[in-house]
Amino acid sequence: MRVILESKVRAKPNLPIEAEAIIPRNFLKGTDLLVYEGNKERTLSELFWIFVEGTAVSPENIEVILKGDTSRIKRVGEYMDTGSIVIEGDIGMHCGNFMSGGTIEIRGNADSWLGREMRGGTILCRGNASHYCATGYRGEKKGMQGGKVEVFGSTGDFCAEYLAGGTVHIHGSAGDFPGVEMRGGELIIEGDATRPCGNMKSGSCVILGTVHDMLPTFEKTRQRVLPEWKITADVYKGDVANRGKGTLCVRS
């Protein structure tokens, strides 16, 4: 089954919409869902043109497609466990929060907190992702714990903060402090990064581009060939400031 949601023109287009109801499973029972625009409750149909094609008996066969201006829509795919969501343009904050299964594809850019506290499943972002891509919530000890986030563009600052499990793969560059407070999982940055892995405890990070402002508290241990990336990398252990035992590999 295919559910196409095309955003309607709004009187106040800057108002954020919170739409955690947009997950494949919810469309099994129809499209009578509630979302929020600013501090007002709205029905899905007030904000979207809704087209449903075909039927489904189980949620894994449901595909939700978002069209139009979706850059202010937050929480799409929150707690999603199966099925797929395709966003043709940009998507607002918190897309794929707490996601545990299924696939989200964003053809445009993603705003901050993409895949926050994710447990499983896959998020593909064809454009750029803003700050706090694949991270956690304020004060919580663990960020993303499982699954995969792949960003084909670049990310903003604090990417993969508190990463505890799963894989984060950035094809472009990451901003300041990627992998800060990391305690597990794998972070791959094909482009450049500034001050990577500050205060990391555990986990591994590979950076293929240039590292700016490498922190002074990483201990260079050896060189290693990384066959999957076809490079030789300097291998650092750290963060020493934090009794950390993480691995940071930077192209030699």
């Binding site: 901050s112 907190w113 803003s130 903003g156 600052d157 604090f158 901003g175």
Partner: protein, 130 residues
């Protein structure tokens, strides 16, 4: 000249903070402190005007020498002048780069604006009162 814009509180700024329409506040909030060597390179003297530019916009300030300011850094008291050119990006933290805005500094003859003018430039209407 490429510099980093640093802002902060000062006693004169604090003393006049509730008198934003007053000339004294304008003088304080539009003063830009530079390292004397940088001033020499720019070819400006104490009291000359400079134009400080960022991707957000530009502002005219009065240059003042200060030994304590590092080379390639400028210091302006917190307030509407500095904020006229500081980006509103917060890096997801809520806090703009009040102390690490990259700027371009050049001498100018353009006049200083008043706080009222700055507010009117963004759609406000000054209320004259001191």
């Amino acid at each position: 000249m490429k510099c980093i814009l640093n802002t902060g509180r000062t006693v004169p700024q604090g003393v006049s903070v509730e008198h934003k329409g007053a000339d004294v506040y304008r003088t304080i909030a539009s003063s830009c402190f530079l390292n004397p060597v940088d001033m020499m390179i720019l070819g400006i003297e104490d009291g000359d005007r400079i134009r400080v530019t960022t991707p957000t916009g530009h502002i005219v300030l009065t240059a003042r020498p200060a030994e304590g300011v590092a080379r390639n850094e400028i210091f302006v008291a917190i307030g509407p002048y500095a904020n006229h050119i500081i980006s509103s990006e917060t890096h997801g933290t809520g806090m703009p780069d009040f102390k690490s805005q990259r700027v371009d500094v050049e001498p100018t003859k353009e006049p200083l604006k008043s706080v009222g003018e700055l507010m009117e430039a963004i759609g406000g209407l000054r209320y004259d009162h001191t």
